[in-house]
């Protein structure tokens, strides 16, 4: 019975192969993709997951025999498995930390760092909030810092009503929170503790849309999907108020709340043909796919720099200088 099934399956496979072989040779650029085999293991940030999922889904259509698997154990969890050599690619919503990079080099793992998209942290208020359309970075920092002492909208601006501010924030373990904290109060500062915190950004959307005095922040994908329920504020980073949009996030003018999303590729894995094909495919298709899943593509200047880094397998992170200190500034500054 078993042998019969196997023979039948082989027969079907063979005939499919023959049909495929006899098909017109139109797609000459991808003939070897179909023959590629092997497995690519990816794990890490659940924020980056939709992008990697989209790329893996499309990659499977052109290279069906390569088994791509993606997990969501978080940026930190992903780096742990990456440094243990268990996965080929780590999804990350922040640059690799010094300790994580040390752990990798301890187990003799080198990596290529590739930014793939932007996520714009959007500051949102209730649609019934008519008084506030824009906040400066200083105001946002004062509002969210533990020592700011902001209780009402009037405390932020004397012209605004004396209405209690209800502050919403993503979970304090999330990369979104980490990034927000770093660009506002900084690494050493501390964020106020009297906030409503949720790991699920949809809960934040519901919270802000149901409370007239509320303010919160989350990734732009959640804002783009809920434009009717919440109102985004423009952010003044020193060059006048800028509204978050795909255009302002991409060109970097929506500063400082555009954060880059990354994939990290193990150098040893980057020698395998299926991983090379996958990363080539990733970088080529990311610009169209990231917009589809709610993120913002990198501008071409950075995109071509990233592609060049991949082509020559530039090792290590560009967020740590040669002396070991952390490199500050936006992705554009770091990568140009």
């Amino acid at each position: 019975m078993n042998t019969f099934l196997k023979t039948a399956a082989l027969g079907i496979l063979a005939s499919t192969a023959m049909i495929a072989a006899s098909a017109p040779q139109g797609q000459t650029e991808t003939p070897n993709l179909k023959a590629l085999k092997g497995a690519i293991k990816i794990d890490g940030s659940s924020t980056v997951y939709p992008i990697t999922e989209a790329v893996a889904e499309e990659f499977n259509k052109v290279a069906g025999k390569v088994r791509v698997t993606v997990g969501i154990s978080g940026t930190g969890g992903g780096f742990k498995r990456f440094s243990a050599g268990e996965i080929d690619i780590a999804d990350a919503s922040r640059p690799i930390k010094q300790a994580e990079s040390d752990a990798a080099s301890k187990s003799k793992i080198e990596f290529v760092e590739l930014p793939v998209a932007y996520d714009g942290l959007t500051i949102v208020v209730n649609p019934k909030n008519t008084w506030c359309d824009s906040l400066s970075v200083d105001q946002i920092t004062k509002l969210y810092s533990a020592s700011g002492g902001i209780k009402t909208w009037k405390d932020l601006n004397p012209a605004w009503p004396e209405k209690a501010i209800k502050v919403y924030s993503p979970g304090t373990d999330s990369g979104t929170f980490d990034y927000f904290k770093e660009v506002t109060v900084g690494k050493e500062g501390s964020i106020r503790s009297d906030m409503s915190v949720s790991e699920d950004d949809n809960v934040l959307v519901r919270g802000v849309s149901g409370d007239e005095g509320a303010i919160g922040f989350f990734g732009c994908a959640y804002y783009f999907e809920n434009k009717d329920k919440v109102k985004a504020l423009s952010v003044d980073g020193g060059k006048g108020p800028i509204m978050p949009s795909t255009a302002t996030i991409e060109d970097g003018s929506y500063a400082p709340f555009s954060r880059p999303l990354f994939i990290y590729v193990n150098k040893a894995s980057a020698a395998k043909p299926e991983v090379i094909a996958f990363i080539d495919f990733y970088l080529k298709n990311a610009p169209t796919l990231v917009n589809e899943v709610g993120f913002v593509k990198l501008p071409e200047t950075i995109g071509s720099k990233v592609a060049a880094n991949w082509a020559r397998r530039r090792l290590g992170t560009q967020f740590t200088s040669s002396t070991g200190g952390a490199v500050k500034g936006s992705l554009a500054n770091v990568y140009e």
Binding site: I42, D43, S46, Y49, P50, T52, E53, A54, A56, E57, N60, R67, V68, T69, V70, G71, I72, S73, G77, R81, A84, G85, E86, S107, E199, D200, D201, N202, G219, A221, Y222, F224, E225, N226, L289, E292, V293, G294
Partner: protein
């Protein structure tokens, strides 16, 4: 004293007690009903056959749960097959064979404490013990010891890595204390006159347990098994730690296959920005409920097949 209380007040307190019990029962039922109705309201419309047979996709309309559904079934089957014999065996030893000693007291206390350990801790234990095997075989799973070819269903690799076998064993750890405690309670409920009778007729302890005590305890054991499996199928934290996946484009083929599970997929879809994903998350919950009923149905079937009426 009792004669001084009027009949009316006694009747009143009786009624009040009845109503309190009724309200308590109905609160639970109403909450469950509200949950079910809202889930079916959201999820029924998008529940199509293609939803069951499709793999993951970034497009809600094309996304399906084939991989997580099969992953959950594989993992929970392994979990049940290992946890039941181990748990029932432990309980039989503790209740029927062991003398009360310092050793059994320590074991007993440990089991009670294990039942209260957060499940994520079991995930870390499973990762260390099953997936990595304490690093005794190196970290790179490609260089591991293997038995059989990858095409055969009995293909085995040591260490297990993030496979369905490691996942099933990890869930087994989570539910083992529940199975043991439920079985112990069931065995204790069997009247000791039955055991004494069997012994008096010359049955060995083994014959007594297998022929008399165990069949009488099956209903209680299976009720415990139902509760335990219901917990296992809903657990996501331990398997997330183990390296449970979300995006897999194949269903498990052998014990070493990668897997995704339904609770993780539901959690991920429910947290996405797009509303369409929230709808298919509800559809996936309906499927998960169906799988839960399937497992519990099997337990009920076993209960009815094995149950022997007590005859005195």
């Amino acid at each position: 004293m009792a004669t001084t209380r009027s009949t009316a007040s006694r009747v009143f307190s009786d009624r009040a007690f009845l109503w309190t019990c009724l309200i308590a029962t109905n609160v639970a039922v109403v909450v469950l009903a509200v949950l079910l109705v809202s889930i079916f309201w959201q999820g029924w419309g998008t529940l199509e056959w293609s939803f069951i047979t499709n793999f993951a996709s970034r497009k809600p309309a094309e996304a399906g749960i084939r991989a997580p559904l099969m992953g959950s079934i594989w993992v929970c089957t392994i979990c049940g097959l290992v946890a039941l014999p181990l748990g029932v065996g432990t309980a039989i030893f503790l209740e029927e064979f062991s003398r009360k000693s310092r050793f059994t007291r320590i074991v007993q206390t440990n089991i009670m404490n294990l039942a209260g350990v957060p499940s994520i801790v079991y995930g870390i234990l499973g990762l260390t013990a099953f997936a990595r095997m304490f690093g005794a075989f190196g970290t790179n799973t490609d260089e591991a010891i293997t038995f059989g070819s990858e095409e055969s269903f009995w293909y085995l690799r040591i260490p297990f890595g993030s496979s369905v076998l490691a996942g099933g064993l990890t869930l087994m750890l989570v539910i083992l204390p529940v199975v043991i405690i439920a079985t112990q309670e069931a065995l204790r409920a069997v009247p000791s006159s039955l055991r004494s009778g069997a012994m008096a007729l010359g049955a060995t302890p083994w014959q007594t347990v297998w022929g008399i005590t165990l069949p009488a305890a099956v209903p209680g054991i299976m009720t415990g098994a139902i509760l335990a499996m219901s917990r296992a199928i809903g657990e996501s934290a331990p398997l997330l730690v183990l390296g449970g996946l979300l995006f897999v484009l194949n269903t498990p083929e052998n014990l070493m296959s990668d897997f995704a599970i339904l609770p993780l997929q539901i959690y991920n879809w429910a947290g996405r920005p797009q509303d369409d994903f929230h709808l298919i998350a509800a559809s996936a919950i309906i499927v998960q409920l169906a799988v839960l009923f399937l497992f519990n149905g099997i337990a009920v079937l076993i209960r009815q097949k094995l149950q022997k009426p007590l005859q005195y």
